[in-house]
């Protein structure tokens, strides 16, 4: 176990905790850069999804995990970014200009939504953002001169400064680049006064206000920053999905994004990445299990002569093939995470790490939450 002896305030807020930490992140960077050499093209595409979801996750993490504002309508921002980017590209704008414009438009929408949100908290904010997303979705399907409605809108491959990113590999590095930029920016914001103000608002609005945090400004900033990141993610999303339709950006996508931050672990950037890995890779894993479980259990039947294995395998296979099962599995995992591990995957990782680094001396009580009695939100 390493003991950190901090001798200055600057040490407390530096980007990496110490050299060892920086070394681990360097190793991670090398692994991620070399990953496409090892895995097949299909998985390179899937990992690009992880990067896009991770940008969405960071965006929502800033709003939900750090500022404590609930949004049930983030898919709308993703859609605005995607449609704006696709529209500008179609009208011959260069890629960089188009992305910047898309981000500016989403940020503006974020501020507009954030303004009434300043007076609302909790469930009222959730329903207001939900209403916004329903309205925006209707706009996507009706404003046919821009979005082409349900006919859909094709999006080409990105071409930046004459460089074409048409292969999965090139797009992988493009998404990785933007994810790293996003993480770097967000991490810097979070260890600056802005981030600390956000966390203060999350923990207690009244305490933050008494310490001189201007609620209106910081809440709008959180909304604007979160929307801007969603705009960026939307632009990449548009390229990845290649064909935009209004029914992509429904409340179900918003819920999936919230699931991402909760399963990953609220209140940590690591959580956004873990959650993105989970959300992007669970569907392919289910698809693999759908075929491999019956097959392997059938093999077990052939080997042992017990017919029961084969029947169980068939049962699981046909269950996984039924429509809508994937949503149920997501729901089950969400329920289990909230009940058993409210800190999500990152919390679990932290506990495991501390268990090993303090090996015989691990105390469960380290992470025990204070006993909460009924915290009334009626009198806030």
């Amino acid at each position: 176990m390493r003991f950190l002896f901090k001798t200055s305030y600057a040490q407390d807020i530096q980007l990496f905790r110490d050299r060892v930490d920086a070394g681990w992140y360097g190793l991670l960077a090398v692994v991620v850069l070399l990953l496409p050499a090892v895995i097949s093209d299909y998985y390179v595409g899937e990992v690009a999804w992880v990067f896009i979801y991770a940008i969405c996750g960071v965006s929502l993490m800033v709003l939900v995990g750090y500022t404590g504002l609930i949004s049930l309508g983030h898919a709308a921002f993703l859609g605005i970014g995607a449609y704006a980017h696709a529209y500008f590209l179609q009208h011959g704008m260069p890629w960089v200009v188009s992305v910047v414009l898309a981000i500016v438009i989403t940020t503006a929408c974020g501020i507009i939504v954030g303004l009434p949100a300043l007076r609302m908290t909790g469930i009222y904010l959730a329903i207001a953002t939900l209403a916004f997303s329903v309205i925006i979705q209707e706009v996507f399907s009706r404003w046919e001169s821009v979005t082409h409605g349900f006919a859909g809108m094709p999006v080409g491959k990105p071409v930046i400064f004459g460089l074409s990113f048409d292969s999965d590999l090139a797009f992988y590095y493009l998404c990785l680049f933007f994810l790293v930029i996003t993480l770097w920016l967000t991490r810097n914001l979070l260890r600056a006064p802005t981030g600390r103000a956000w966390v203060a608002i999350r923990d207690s609005e009244i305490a933050a206000q008494s310490m001189g945090v201007n609620l209106a400004i910081y809440k709008s900033m959180a909304f604007a920053y979160s929307a801007a990141l969603m705009g960026l993610a939307g632009a990449l999303f548009a390229h990845k999905i290649a064909y935009l339709a209004p029914d992509i950006f429904t409340i179900l996508l918003s819920i999936q994004l919230l699931l991402l931050v909760i399963v990953g672990g609220l209140g940590s950037l690591h959580g956004a990445i873990f959650g993105a890995i989970f959300v992007a890779l669970l569907p392919p894993v289910i698809a693999i299990l759908r075929d491999s479980i019956p097959a392997s259990l059938a093999d077990a039947t052939a080997a042992t002569g017990i017919g029961l294995f084969g029947l169980i395998g068939e049962g699981i296979g046909s269950f996984l093939r039924k429509p809508g099962v994937e949503a149920g599995i997501f729901g089950l995992i969400l329920v289990l995470v909230i009940l058993l591990e409210p800190r999500g995957m990152y919390g679990r990782w932290l506990k495991t790490r501390i268990f090993f680094s303090t090996f015989p001396m691990y105390k469960r009580a380290t992470f025990k939450r204070q006993k909460t009695y009924m915290k009334s939100e009626r009198l806030r």
Binding site: P116, A128, G328, M374
Partner: protein, 305 residues
């Protein structure tokens, strides 16, 4: 043509008939929203949990009734009764096993938990009953025409059912011992507990009542929208808007909010361009929240430090 020009009274009469027709249908749809919103509010008032799975309980209720009527060929009313009992018991069980454990956690976690539960219910329904669209045969199929206004018995049954249920609930909450205990619990849990009220049991009962109202709403709605696994989601979102419009935590607010949302939806669908039918309620809701963030009947309380 000539008669029309000389007889403006007939035209106004026809317009009035259309207006009345829309109002009646809007009222019926609004009653459904109101009932679901009532379920939200009952649970919220008592336990401060926001139950997003309310719409899926509605769907389960409709499916259980469907199973009773079509698969087992029971009488409509018997199947209806069985559905209420089964789903209410399920609601109480849900509270006793899952939701009791998250009381006191941030509201957001509970919202997500119930969203997760709702997704599981939908998967359960799609695996058990299949993901097709079903029709539920009901005793209310005829229409009565009064002065150009077509009164569909389905819509009338919705309004009558809502009125009846509200009357029963009102009597229950104000005139029975356990109903008053429920009111006490929702006002101050700790004080109620000290007075010897079994708070946990009361919470489970409130979940049961709330699930029961969802079933009534589902079965009354079934002939109008038909039964499928996603029928609850759309209704629940609108009902949620209704509950917020009325001021979350106010029972008359939930019903009034539901009726307002239903009427707006129908009027907007008839008079405004296509696409406004589904968005108009939300636009009104956003405007309302901008002006009065606590809802129509809500009270704004300041937090004391």
């Amino acid at each position: 043509m000539a008669t029309r020009a000389t007889d403006p009274c007939g035209r106004t009469g026809r317009k009035l008939a259309i207006f009345l027709q829309l109002t009646l249908n809007g009222l019926a749809v609004g009653c459904i929203y109101g009932l679901v919103a009532l379920g939200f509010v009952l649970i919220y008032k008592a336990t401060e949990l926001v139950n997003f799975a309310q719409g899926d309980l509605l769907m389960l209720g409709a499916f259980v009734t469907f199973m009773g009527v079509v698969w087992w060929e029971l009488d409509y009313w018997v199947a209806f009764f069985i559905a209420i009992v089964v789903v209410s018991a399920f609601g109480a069980l849900l509270d006793a096993t899952v939701l009791r454990r998250v009381i006191g956690q941030p509201q957001f976690a509970v919202v997500m938990l119930t969203i997760g539960l709702g997704a599981m219910f939908r998967t359960f329904a799609s695996v058990t009953w299949g993901s097709e669209i079903y029709t539920l045969p009901t005793p209310f199929s005829g229409v009565t025409v009064i002065g150009g206004v077509t009164l569909s018995h389905q819509y009338l049954s919705i309004v009558a059912g809502t009125l009846l249920l509200c009357g029963v609930l009102y009597a229950f909450f104000t005139h029975t011992r356990i109903g008053i205990a429920m009111q006490a619990t929702s006002q101050n849990q700790l004080a109620a507990y000290y007075m010897g009220i079994p708070v946990k049991l009361i919470f489970s009962l409130i979940w049961a009542i709330s699930a029961g109202t969802a079933v009534v709403a589902g079965v009354l709605l079934a002939p109008v929208t038909l039964i499928d696994i996603n029928m609850g989601l759309a209704v629940a979102l609108k009902a949620f808007a209704a509950a917020v419009l009325g001021g979350f935590g106010s029972i008359p607010g939930a019903l009034v909010g539901g009726i307002i949302i239903g009427l707006i939806e129908l009027y907007a669908g008839a008079t405004l361009p296509e696409g406004f039918k589904d968005t108009a309620p939300y636009i009104v809701l956003l405007l309302m929240l901008a002006v009065r963030p606590q809802g129509l009947f809500g009270t704004l309380a300041r937090k004391k430090v």
